[in-house]
Amino acid sequence: MADGGEKSKVVMPPVVKISAQQLIEDKDHWPEYLKIGKFIAESGIKLKLGSVVIARAATIYHRFYFLCDISQFDRYLVAVTCLYLASKVEDTPRRARDVITTSYKVLHKEKPILKVDSFYWQLRDSVVNFELFMLRMLKFDVSSELPHKYLLHYLKSLQDWCGESNWTTNHINQLCWQLLQDTSLLPFILLYPPSVIATAVIYLAVKCNNIEVPSEGSTKPWWNVFSPNLNEEGLQQLCYKFMELYDT
């Protein structure tokens, strides 16, 4: 499609209307953006896909959204394709038919369940073709690191360090996992390294529960063990952004 000298029907100048940075900064854009994220999450849960797969789908969506002029595409088609692709990338594939009928039901709650007719086949072809299109746009780079494995690793280290009782009575692990899941619906992952996101999630959970992480004479605060270049101010700013998510 990009070749010169060829009469190409697709005219798609990569006009990016808004950057990921601008979106995160300006809360007014959030409700519109989160609509798709919540659709991905709800369809993902109905498809019995795990947290990581849903976060993967959201991440592919973020990448694609800011790569091209999203107004040229149907956002729900993009979202469904992200879920379908993410289920494959994370090795828990769902059949195209399940992905399409489930997400159709999520989108059109009042309508009856989608039958396998010519309309279904149109949808399926759209998803399959769009999958290839997305893969090409993203240069097949769809398995970038997510914060989840960092979170698990950091939580394990902190739990050993602080003592298990503090952690379990306050349900820190569950809280962190849920926070991470919610924040993955906004494109933080495009702006911060996965390790920083994981650290910030723990910082927020620890502060909310008034837990002191002992430093045992070390001058280094605990978060610098995981993210050496992070200062507390930056961490707090990121946490404020996370909290704003719950006012939206």
Binding site: L132, F140, D141
Partner: protein, 362 residues
């Protein structure tokens, strides 16, 4: 491309490479030798078959891309980029996706089938070291290859071995003990006994079994156990490695197919005895013997294999392989099969049933 006013993020057209010749094929698609039109550098193009896919882009290709992107090692084939080709509207053909790999001059199966190619002991040690280093690297990264065989080991002109074809590879985790992997992996002749018996939570040991088979081939020059069916393969394994019983493999009776097969009983283990006609070096024999251990839990792993005396006794692994630089033609199993028909090699050939593999090899 430069005519375009926009910097599209699309991947390149495969037309930047000039296809030279087909060097392999299989269920996955075709492999071509090609050359970059500008840099003149050679590459291998592997085409991903699209179009017949009911389920969109094949998950196996996605896995291969994901795994190869994450793995960077001298003994793993390098994925350079991914290209596309246009579909032609006239023939209603859909476009294809190509994986572009660094080009390696030979594959191990092709080299071993050529009687003119001779390796001495220290050269074999070097090649085995490369093979095990590559495998140790992928296993440390929690990846199983699941299709190791001589044809999937590439050899460069400089005698560097590279593991290739990660089309069946998968990520595994050591803690999760409830894998539900398919056991229909690995080419029959290289398939470990636990796979043949229906095991579905296997691990890196299945790759080590294949390594044992490949290692023996350096001396025997053809696959050591050329079964023509799963039952026949198990029989061949029993005849070489001894009967498969709960005494040698404690959990074997828990495997689905253990009771279904009527396997030869009270066979003695004769790995060293039967291979000693070919393999004179006692350390080499010992390493093969340890790779071909029936119980996957007791089978040697890639780390211990690299520490085996085989690599640390005289003659030490060679620094180069002399005969390769004299080879002017690429040795690929695919090309050899076409030129000189080699009836022994394809398991589906009718000769196989009248003349079982073990008779010929030993």
């Amino acid at each position: 491309m430069s005519k375009e006013p926009y910097n599209y993020p699309f991947i390149h057209d495969v037309g930047k490479y000039e296809k030279i010749t087909k060097i392999g094929h299989g269920t996955f698609g075709e492999v071509f030798k090609a050359r970059n039109r500008i840099s003149k550098e050679f590459v291998a193009l592997k085409r991903v078959l699209l179009g017949n896919e009911k389920e969109g882009f094949p998950i196996t290709s996605l896995r291969e891309i994901k795994i190869l992107r994450a793995l960077k090692h001298d003994n793993i084939v390098r994925l350079q980029e991914i290209c596309r080709s246009k579909g032609t509207p006239q023939s209603r053909k859909r476009g294809s996706i190509y994986l572009v790999f660094e080009f390696c001059a030979h594959d191990l199966a092709g080299l071993l089938q050529n009687p003119q190619v001779k390796f001495n002991l220290s050269e074999i040690k070097r090649m085995m070291k490369h093979l095990l280093s590559g495998l140790f690297y992928i296993h440390s990264n929690k990846v199983l290859h699941r299709d190791l065989k001589a044809a999937n080991v590439l050899v460069t002109r400089d005698g560097v071995l590279k593991l290739a074809d990660f089309g069946l590879a998968r990520v595994y985790s050591r803690k999760e003990k409830t894998h539900c992997f398919t056991n229909r992996v690995v080419t029959l002749w290289y398939r470990a006994p636990e796979l043949l018996l229906g095991c579905r939570d296997y691990g890196p040991a299945i790759d080590m079994w294949a390594i044992g088979c490949i290692m023996a081939e350096f001396w025997t020059r053809s696959a050591i156990m050329q079964g023509n069916s799963e039952t026949n393969q198990l029989t061949l394994i029993t005849q070489l490695c001894g009967s498969i019983t709960p005494e040698v493999y404690p959990d074997v009776d828990k495997l689905d197919l253990f009771k279904k097969f009527d396997l030869p009983a009270s066979q003695k283990r004769r790995v060293k005895e039967r291979l000693s006609h070919y393999v004179r070096d006692r350390h080499a024999l010992d390493l093969i013997d340890r790779c071909l251990t029936i119980d996957p839990a007791k089978r040697i792993d890639s780390d211990s294999a690299l520490n085996h005396d085989f690599f640390w006794s005289d003659p030490l692994p060679a620094s180069k392989i002399s005969c390769l630089s004299r080879l002017n033609v690429s040795m690929f199993e695919f090309l050899i099969d076409r030129k000189t028909t080699n009836p022994q090699h394809r398991p589906e050939q009718s000769q196989m049933s009248q003349q079982p593999g073990y008779d010929r090899v030993f």
